[in-house]
């Protein structure tokens, strides 16, 4: 009766294979294409050591906040407050420096404030069961409120009081900007956390099937809370580094990171593992967008094109990985 039932996977149509391929390697292909195109258009500038370093420098802060967001997304949750948390942390640290609080204390308190935002998010989502989208949007607005309470909406330039604070992120070591080192260290820690620790495995399990994870004796609330709190902490770090780069706390300085981080993380789902959020994917996502921005700026296109580019890239990558995921499930 057993006819020629082979173990080989079902043959796919050419179209499906292409979709699968793009779903898996989409972001990497885009990155490669960008590098090639820009190298041809601007050979004397784009592919130089200085510019490559520049691209990574431009990626650094976005990568830190986006990798934090990746933890929350991996747990199948959402955090829309990250940009506002970053702004708040920047404003808070700058205001405290101006008030004469020593640098380490100011950093610590600003990070605590960020963690507080994460705790608030996690309580709303895991204890009260509020939808994460709404909860973090609301908490983000609260962060904006605290931000304006501290700053009155004005920038907080600390340069005249503690110029040495900027040295935290401005400046280079062995020719490479400090922020790039921070990015590498933090990304490495988060990669290990998500892939090689009990907490990370639990975050992924919760994201895969929260009920099943609960029924094997994992404290799902604690795991989800940890993801939210870490995410806010990383948003806080990003905000503080941003303030150091800019030389002042800007009340809306970090807001744009929300969109950037989501774009990068979703782009990252189209890297190697189709449809899954993972740290390296997110980093590739950040670098791809940064490369595009950098190259477009070199060519000299108007800046609105950069946003068109980011939007189209995101939509295309996510579409491919969504379709690819459906295909892999169907087989």
């Amino acid at each position: 009766m057993t006819t020629s039932v082979t173990v080989a996977p079902r043959a796919r149509t050419a179209g499906q294979s292409v979709t699968l391929f793009f779903g898996k390697f989409g972001a990497l292909i885009v990155l490669a294409v960008l590098v090639i195109v820009f190298s041809i258009i601007a050979p004397s500038y784009f592919l130089t050591w200085g510019n490559i370093v520049q691209i990574f420098n431009q990626s650094a802060l976005a990568a830190i906040i986006a990798c934090g967001l990746t933890l929350v997304l991996a747990a199948n949750q959402f955090d829309l407050s990250i940009g506002y948390t970053a702004s708040l942390a920047g404003i808070a640290v700058a205001a405290m420096l101006i008030a004469g609080i020593p640098i380490p204390v100011a950093i610590l308190l600003a990070l605590l404030l960020s963690v507080g935002i994460g705790v608030l998010n996690s309580i709303l989502v895991t204890r009260l069961g509020v939808n994460a989208l709404v909860a973090t949007l609301g908490v983000g607005s609260v962060a904006v409120g605290i931000n304006y309470f501290i700053s009155g909406g004005a920038a907080q330039p600390f340069g005249a009081y503690v110029p040495e604070f900027s040295e935290i992120s401005v400046g280079t070591w062995l020719g490479i900007p400090r922020n790039v080192y921070y990015m590498v260290i933090i990304v490495a820690i988060l990669w290990v956390l998500l892939n090689r620790t009990v907490l990370g495995r639990n975050i992924q399990a919760v994201g895969g099937n929260a009920e099943a994870t609960r029924l094997v004796g994992v404290n799902v609330r604690a795991v989800t809370s940890a993801a939210f709190i870490l995410c806010s902490l990383l948003a806080g770090i990003t905000g503080i580094l941003l303030a150091a780069v800019v030389g002042s706390g800007q009340s809306t300085g970090g807001d744009g990171y929300t969109l950037q981080a989501f774009a990068a993380a979703f782009l990252g789902t189209a890297v190697i593992r189709e449809g899954q959020f993972h740290i390296l994917g997110t980093v590739v996502g950040v670098v791809t967008v940064a490369t595009g921005f950098n190259g477009l700026a070199i060519i000299g296109v108007p800046s609105f094109v950069q946003f068109l580019f980011q939007g189209i890239l995101l939509i295309a990558a996510v579409s491919f990985s969504t379709v690819a995921r459906k295909l892999t499930r169907a087989s």
Binding site: M1, T6, A11, V198, R201, N202, E211, V216, G217
Partner: protein, 518 residues
């Protein structure tokens, strides 16, 4: 096996649906090869076969979900391709799937009439006409519950009736039911069977898919057996035995009838778990039971008797309000699932897909899920090692004879039986010694069922305790002892192995009538 499938004599009217030599190829695999089959008006046509034998593929072709690679479909004797599910709907074909496609927040009325074009006027719904037709259908099905509450508030059986109602309101000529009794109690099954017979008597053609051969034998006018995408048996009512069906399904003649041999529990085996007068203030009212090392205790009862909820209390998932529990001789009260797991209690939940597994994840990840301790180099070490996880998965895959090429493939790719074994393996690797099984063989084909029960027996023989809930009473006959639950209370105990379904049912019904008389 016959080679003359359904050749109608010239005088008879053409069958409602007739498939001629239909095949469906997926890549290099033939999911269906050369199947000819007819559904006649007014007949209940049983379809049996292991998971993946081709039943669903065939019904999906009739339903317009899949197109056949070759072969023809005749409807009312006229050749016609059913291209889309919408066309199937217009032809009066209805499909009731195992996971009912109902919208939880919609009422029974809205669920039954959704997508029904004939009752809208200029795009606006005619509320009065909808209500009238729904009432007619409800009456026909003997529906007692309120048609206006959201269906998520209804029981599984009631939702099943809503799904049938959806077919009836469309005046379906053909209804395919896929495992309709999977989540029903025996009493509810009887009601469903009555409805199925009435529908057939009214001229509706019914395709009835089930793993439960007893109900196939009871209901079907004709039975078609599938194996590996081919028809391996065609039978008319009365013209076959259970063994004939099993031979067609498995290719071998081994049944899973009531069994009476099982390794006896040692005289001096200690009591592993006992509960006295447990109650949670809702479904569980007064439950007392005990299980010894090496013993398999079954809980028999109808759906809603509080069996799963009892397991939930033991597993720390529900809070007991009254009663005492002891585990390994010590007082026991799990305040959370984590607590229960730490004490060596395991639960294999009712819904494999939604409650037990991460379908996209690998066998290895599922096997070590929540048990990362076994994959870290030391206690309290926060880092996991894939090498250790791999070893755990390989050992369990071998021990349970899980058919997976390697532990890295996704559990989605495994058969239902093998998926269930992955869940078992997870707890075995964790050293659980009290296993709570909730419907362990639901949606699993016969061959895999035997293997799952073998796994349970092996686990018990090693000195562990098992409590098992199953709606298929026949299966429970293997248990050392059976506790009968009626409406949240334990009302009797039967000494096994070899307790018959009849014996269990008589205890259940005797007590149910008593309850009713009170």
């Amino acid at each position: 096996m016959t080679d003359t499938p359904d050749t109608p004599d010239a005088s008879a009217p053409p069958a409602l649906i007739e498939a001629r030599d239909v095949s469906r190829i997926f890549g290099s695999i033939a999911a269906l090869s050369g199947v000819s089959l007819a559904f006649r008006r007014g007949e209940v046509h049983g379809l049996v076969g292991a998971n993946g034998a081709g039943k669903s593929t065939f019904l999906n072709i009739v339903g317009g979900v899949l197109t056949p690679s070759s072969g023809t479909i005749l409807i009312d004797g006229v050749e016609r391709a059913v291209q889309t599910p919408k066309e199937a709907d217009e032809l009066g074909f209805a499909f009731i799937h195992q996971e009912l496609a109902l919208i939880p927040d919609f009422s029974a009325i809205d669920n039954m009439t959704i997508g029904l074009r004939s009752i809208s006027r200029l795009g606006f719904l005619d509320r009065r006409e909808i209500a009238r037709r729904s009432r007619v259908v409800a009456e026909r099905l003997g529906i007692q519950f309120n048609l206006r509450v959201p269906v998520r508030q209804l029981s599984a059986a009631e939702r099943g009736l809503v799904a049938i109602g959806r077919a009836l309101i469309r005046e379906a000529r053909f209804i395919a039911m896929d495992e309709p009794t999977a989540s029903l109690s025996d009493v509810e099954c009887q009601r469903l069977f009555r409805i199925v017979r009435e529908l057939a008597a009214d001229g509706v053609s019914i395709a009835y898919v089930s793993h439960r051969l007893g109900e196939i034998e009871d209901l079907s006018d004709r039975v078609t057996v599938f194996k590996d995408g081919r028809v391996t048996g065609r039978f008319e009512r009365g013209g076959y035995t259970r063994d004939d069906l099993i031979r067609g399904i498995t290719g071998a003649a081994e049944g899973l009838g009531p069994r009476a041999e099982i390794v006896a529990v040692a005289e001096d085996a200690p009591v592993v778990f006992e509960a006295e007068h447990l109650g949670d203030g809702s479904r569980v009212r007064d439950v007392s039971l005990s299980v010894r090392a090496g013993e398999i205790v079954g809980i028999a009862g109808v759906v809603g008797a509080g069996r799963s909820e009892t397991l939930g209390i033991v597993f720390g998932d529900r809070k007991p309000l009254t009663g005492e529990m002891r585990l390994d001789g010590k007082p026991y009260r799990a305040s959370s699932v984590q607590d229960a797991v730490r004490r060596g209690v395991a639960l294999v939940p009712e819904e494999r897909r939604s409650q037990a597994l991460i379908m996209e994840d690998s066998v290895r990840a599922n096997m070590t899920m929540g048990n990362w301790g076994s994959t870290t180099p030391g206690r309290g070490n926060p880092f996991v090692s894939d090498r250790r996880a791999q070893r755990v998965a390989e050992v369990m895959t071998q021990r349970l004879r899980i058919k997976a090429r390697d532990p890295q493939i996704a559990v989605r790719a495994l058969s239902g039986g093998n998926q269930q074994k992955v869940v078992f393996g997870r707890w075995l690797a964790r050293g659980a010694h009290l296993m709570l099984l909730d419907e362990p063989t639901r949606g699993v084909d016969i061959g895999a069922r035997q293997q799952i029960w073998q796994t349970v027996e092996d686990f018990a023989r090693e000195g562990n305790a098992v409590v098992v809930v199953s709606s298929e009473l026949e299966e429970l006959s293997i248990c050392h002892r059976i506790v009968v639950m009626v409406e949240g209370r334990t009302v009797g105990e039967l000494q096994g192995p070899g307790v018959t379904e009849e014996a269990m049912l008589s205890v259940i019904y005797n007590h149910q009538t008593k309850e009713a008389n009170v």
